[in-house]
């Protein structure tokens, strides 16, 4: 019995050592990144290319979730949770509600694009931008080592309430203004309200 077990141990350890020697951990992490990046980019393409605007909104939600997963991949789990909560849980819902409130009779073709020439011009602009970013990011030193910064929540909280407390308070006022503004815009102000 024991030599069957030690034979199995030998095989399993051999396979694991081989996988480590060809760099499997990095490969797996890279594979996870490419998977999530593919989800994000394909969903973003779906937002732009789909003809039904409800489908576009749902692909936008998928893109938000992909970006949130990328934040968690980068060890920024607080930022990932903020992304899920704000973008996936609130912004996406707002956009779908807006689509519901501005419904057209035919929903299946409610996301028109401009003419082909327009699209060609926009595609060229976008491609040139991508090319410039490619050259810039390739010509700078590669950085693959993550910075070890300590506890994220404590770090963000320390910064937000000491050094950046003014932007924090201004953001709070901005949210209040946005809420009041949205209510007034949507509800309308009539003469007898003033």
């Amino acid at each position: 019995m024991t030599d069957v077990l030690s034979f199995i141990h030998f095989i399993v350890n051999g396979v694991m050592d081989f996988l480590v020697s060809i760099g499997a951990p990095d490969l797996i992490m890279a594979g996870i990144f490419y998977l999530m990046a593919a989800v994000t980019v394909l969903s973003a393409l779906g937002v732009v290319l789909m003809r039904n605007v409800v489908h576009s909104a749902l692909m936008l939600t998928a893109s938000f979730i992909g970006v949130g997963c990328l934040y968690i991949y980068m060890n920024a789990s607080f930022m990932g949770a903020v992304q899920f909560l704000v973008y996936g849980g609130a912004v996406a819902v707002l956009i779908v509600m807006a689509i519901m409130l501005t419904r057209r009779p035919d929903m299946a073709h409610s996301n028109p694009s401009r003419g082909a020439l327009h699209q060609l011009g926009a595609a060229i602009v976008a491609a040139v931008f991508c090319l410039v970013m490619l050259i810039v990011s390739m010509a700078s030193p590669f950085r693959t080592e993550a910075s070890h910064l300590g506890d994220e929540v404590k770090g963000i909280a320390d910064l937000m309430l000491t050094e950046y407390v003014l932007p924090f308070e201004v953001a709070a006022v901005l949210l209040l203004i946005a809420m009041i503004g949205a209510i007034i815009l949507a509800k309308g102000v009539s003469e007898n309200d003033a």
């Binding site: 141990h9 399993v12 789990s77 849980g89 819902v93």
Partner: protein, 345 residues
């Protein structure tokens, strides 16, 4: 330090696997897969058990007997329900948006099941003990709001649209008081980790004593978030047939049902973790205490469901925004003052 039952069993399984396979990493991977299987088993078992429990409790509260034909005392009723649902015809209504309509039940189940990865079942028995546990849990639970919209909008039915809009209004209105009521606990604990929250209640009092208002607010918002009476106008039969789920039949509806009961169990677990001390308790092992407290909270949820009438949607919205949210903010203020006094006196 002695560990609980779950970790002892897990270490036993890990020891056996190490004996067979002999490699740390593969054993860890297999243990994670076993953990996932255990969580899905818990969800399925809970769903099966709750169909029976809910109907029996409802019956006893309404002074009648409930299911008592299938099996002794009706204990095989869930199996009959499952067989019935599996054998129903899958009706696809005319004019639905096929892909979105079919995906909605599956996408609804994902956040409900994913939340189970953050629950502390026992000492050290959390599947993913991340630094931002409670926040990530809230963030993932908030993803289920959009799936109601998906189901309702794609259904090409007026009941579906109304139910979906009501579901979104409820969920969004009650998310803010829920998060602010949990903020009091996080302030006292000083950390967002789920295991820290349980550990902070282990040697001192439970948080229900320190934060009674937050407990009541959290209880109320749990009802709203899981669409149970008194906030179940989303799917009430007397008004909008079945709301967002009207056009689903058979196994698709069973998926919604499964998600709803998974949500019920998860709010029971979360209430015990946040307010009743999680798995900590004096004499019995942690695992037993955990399930005792969870079943206690579950019975309270069932009791309230079958006792109170349904509120109107405008009453619900005004209650959420005008009563619960200011109360939760006042609770946070008092908690902050109390912590300050406690720390510097």
């Amino acid at each position: 330090m002695e560990t609980g039952i779950v970790m002892t069993v897990a270490n036993l399984i890990r020891g056996i696997l190490m004996l067979i396979l002999g490699n740390e990493f593969i054993v860890s991977v297999i243990m994670k897969l076993i953990g996932i299987g255990a969580m899905i088993g818990v969800i399925s078992f809970a769903a099966i058990l709750f169909t029976y429990t809910e109907r029996k409790v409802c019956a006893f509260i309404q002074v009648r007997l409930g299911p008592n034909r299938v099996g002794p005392r009706g204990l095989l009723q869930p199996i009959a329900d499952m067989l019935k649902l599996m054998s129903k015809e899958d009706i696809i209504p005319y004019g639905v948006d096929r892909v979105v309509w079919a995906l909605a039940p599956m996408v609804l189940f994902v956040p409900s099941a994913l939340a189970y990865a953050f629950f502390p079942f026992d000492d050290g028995a959390i599947f993913a003990d991340v630094n931002v546990g409670i926040f990530l849990l809230i963030a993932i639970s908030s993803q289920s709001v959009l799936t109601f919209l998906m189901a309702g909008v794609a259904s090409n039915s007026k009941y579906g649209m109304i139910g979906a809009m009501r579901a979104v209004a409820t969920s969004l209105s009650y998310e803010a008081p829920m998060v602010f009521s949990l903020l009091g606990i996080v302030m006292i604990t000083g950390s967002l980790r789920m295991s820290d929250i349980v550990a902070a209640q282990q040697n001192t009092v439970w948080f229900i004593v320190l934060q009674p208002i937050a407990f009541l607010i959290y209880l109320t918002t749990c009802f709203a978030e899981t669409n149970r009476t008194p906030f179940d106008f989303v799917e009430c039969e007397s008004e909008i047939v079945a709301g967002a789920f009207t056009e689903y039949s058979g196994m698709r509806w069973a998926l919604f049902f499964l998600a709803e009961y998974a949500n019920l169990l998860s709010i029971s677990v979360l209430t015990t973790t946040f307010f009743l001390g999680g798995w900590s308790g004096p004499i019995l092992p942690g695992f037993v205490w955990f399930w005792l407290k969870t079943i206690f909270m579950l019975m309270i949820f069932l009791w309230i469901r079958w006792t109170f009438p349904r509120v109107r949607i405008d009453q619900m919205m005004s209650f959420g925004w005008k009563v619960l949210l200011p109360l939760a903010l006042v609770n946070v203020l008092f908690t902050g003052v109390g912590i300050y006094i406690n720390r510097f006196m």
